[in-house]
Symmetry: C2
Subunit: 126 residues, 2 copies
DNA sequence: TCTATTGTCTTAGTTCAATAGAACAATCTG
DNA sequence: CAGATTGTTCTATTGAACTAAGACAATAGA
């Protein structure tokens, strides 16, 4: 079961945070086709956001074709995200973890690491 | 000179995007103490956001002690961010770029990469 | 000193995220 | 069937983000 964590004050709208977390879980293989998302009322109880907000997040995911809502039974993962083969993910994670350890021992904070990755991903230009 | 890029529709408020970009530039060494930020009117002309929005971003940076606004002359970087030694940043960037290349050749998209990093940084649990 | 530049403030208004509270509709379970 | 569960819709309201357009204040430079 996926656990949502809505960070008020991060600036990002709650419904976007929820949507992103679902997509991310799908990319990492934590959520696969057929899996059921937490109930709207579950999320309300867990994260404190309003039912309409959760619904908005779920509706966007449904519109994107990622999940399917079945009234009375729940919302289910429909498609699969993540373009990588699951067996490739493990080694890549290990290598990345090693790099992160190195970066941290060089004094980089998480924000530095994010900045560096964003720079590399965007091509390093600009 | 730093060039701002405000992405409407990303959901993140414009003033937060501006602030984040300044911090990021400081972390990567593109902006150092003494450097001048783009003029409020420059940012307005470049990014299309309102002067009040830019002002809000700059004021938050000033409140955080990162920059200093001097009326009539501009806004200047005051402190230094980035906990890493600049000479360490280069090698780390190279290693990371190599990893990214490997990840991409395994089929990972940028979003997959971000998800993976976020997982590793948060300890890999949950 | 004069002028352009820059940061700053004011007022007013629009849009949208989010909340609250309640009700309805489809489905599952016993 | 009966009741619980789940998704869904509705209306009204609050508050934040953002815009618009203009004016003022301090500084730098000729």
């Amino acid at each position: 079961m996926v656990e949502f964590h809505v960070d008020r004050g991060s600036g990002l709208p709650a419904y976007l945070q929820l949507g992103r977390q679902v997509r991310e879980a799908m990319r990492l293989g934590w959520l696969q086709p057929g899996d059921r998302l937490p109930t709207v009322r579950d999320v309300v109880a867990t994260s404190g956001v309003n039912a309409n907000t959760v619904l908005k997040a779920y509706r966007e995911l449904e519109l994107a074709g990622l999940v399917e809502a079945r009234q009375g039974s729940g919302t289910f993962v429909k498609a699969s995200l993540g373009s990588a083969a699951p067996e490739d993910l493990g080694p890549l994670r290990t290598t990345l973890a090693a790099w992160v350890a190195e970066a941290r021992s060089a004094g980089l904070e998480d924000e530095d690491i994010y900045a560096l990755l964003r720079e590399v991903l965007s091509g390093g230009e600009q």
